[in-house]
Symmetry: C2
Subunit: 251 residues, 2 copies
């Protein structure tokens, strides 16, 4: 297997410093960003994920933000899934398709408010499609990539770890729901979601500068829980029936 060349095109993440200190062995590239793929070994990472708790740098799940009076109309234009029942605070898995039904991305959408959504994307520049749809249809929506970087907490001890850092209220989050939680004076969206079957959370860290403080707080608080740096695990995601856009499906 060859090395990966560093480049400014392959963006580092707000958590890269922690990932490297934890001994990352390999990367892939996802949305032009470095995504760790192995720490100890795929097998060891798998066994640990199933018994303890891991912190995953999934900053590569970039957000496409929709904001403005037509945001809800636009969100429904993008996906064939009926969003009629979606309320603020909910996450929906929303396949995004082109006019022929071809898949452009298979993200999770978060409804932050009636006029504000985040689309947490898989590996394609969905931002371009969404911006051009807004442009062509003259919709009143601002579309941009905000400075938001998801960090996942996954594994059977995820509730315990998240509660130690963000308070007990985080335990009450229902699946695919999210709330706002304080860390060091700033508020971050935390959803009960993530790319494993082991359960856990995704923290949508707002502001790159907040990345390492949250990473370090989780590592510190999880020491006796055997917390480790991890990443989406190929064995576990296939066992869990989680499809990967680009790997298991293409347009």
């Amino acid at each position: 297997m060859a090395l990966i060349s560093s480049s400014r095109r392959l963006r580092r993440t707000p958590f890269s410093e922690g990932v490297e200190a934890a001994g990352v062995k390999a990367y892939t590239v996802y949305n032009h960003m470095l995504l760790p793929t192995v720490f100890a070994s795929v097998q060891e990472d798998y066994a640990h994920l199933k018994r303890a708790v891991q912190i995953w740098d999934v900053a590569c799940e970039r957000q496409v933000e929709l904001r403005g009076p037509d945001a809800g109309r636009l969100m429904q234009m993008l996906t064939p899934r009926d969003l009629g029942g979606m309320t603020a605070g909910q996450c929906y898995y929303v396949p995004i398709v082109d006019e022929t039904g071809g898949m452009l991305n298979d993200p999770v959408a978060l409804k932050l408010a009636e006029d504000r959504y985040w689309i947490s994307i898989a590996d394609s520049d969905l931002l371009m499609w969404v911006k051009a749809v807004v442009y062509g249809y003259r919709l009143e929506v601002l579309v941009d990539e905000p400075d938001v970087s998801p960090l996942a907490v996954q594994g059977p001890l995820a509730d315990e770890l998240a509660a130690r850092v963000f308070g007990d209220a985080v335990r009450k989050l229902r699946f695919f729901r999210f709330g706002w939680f304080d860390f060091d004076g700033a508020c971050h969206v935390i959803a009960r979601s993530g790319y494993s079957r082991q359960g856990g959370f995704e923290i949508y860290v707002e502001g790159g500068r907040n990345g390492m403080p949250i990473w370090s707080a989780l590592m510190e608080a999880g020491r006796e829980l055997d917390v480790r740096a991890g990443c989406p695990n190929g064995i576990e995601r296939i066992e869990g029936g989680l499809l990967s856009y680009g790997n298991d499906m293409t347009r």
Copy 2:
């Protein structure tokens, strides 16, 4: 530096077999595809590029094809550059910008006919932007990614090598012009262009199955010219003043 994990999301190219046989040491990811970055060393590759001839797997320069009665109108909508004087057989460097003037890609466009263009893209999913513009404006254009994979022949001996494989007519191509050249019964676009200052060609290989036969024919014909597998060279491209989208400029 870490390893790069293999994945079906990181597409191999029609030339990957040749690249690996030539001892590639590192890759980057460009348009979801593997792009070689080092063979001997960046320094040795540089010195060789400046004195001999190299074959570069730049299949990652994916094509966005525009075809139909509104193709010319669409091509002009995409870029602020005046395309009024562009004739079939010409290449133009065409920055593609969004409605705010933000850069989406900085490709080279090839005008194949009055109603047909290829946009040879840098590292972003420009296909999505172009498709959505067509969709929003109800233009009569088919937009798709054809099975076309560029292979570059670069270096001071590029003319000699290309002529041995495609005939002497290739020597007459002017800078940023292209023609159609036969190889083994199939026609391929060849342009005098490429991402170095050393001169040479880009062969737009049509059909993945034709990739390795052309790669091997060039390697065979270039043996006494000291032909080697190469790749865009960081030192040479900076000396040559060639900007890299994502590295030197972002939106």
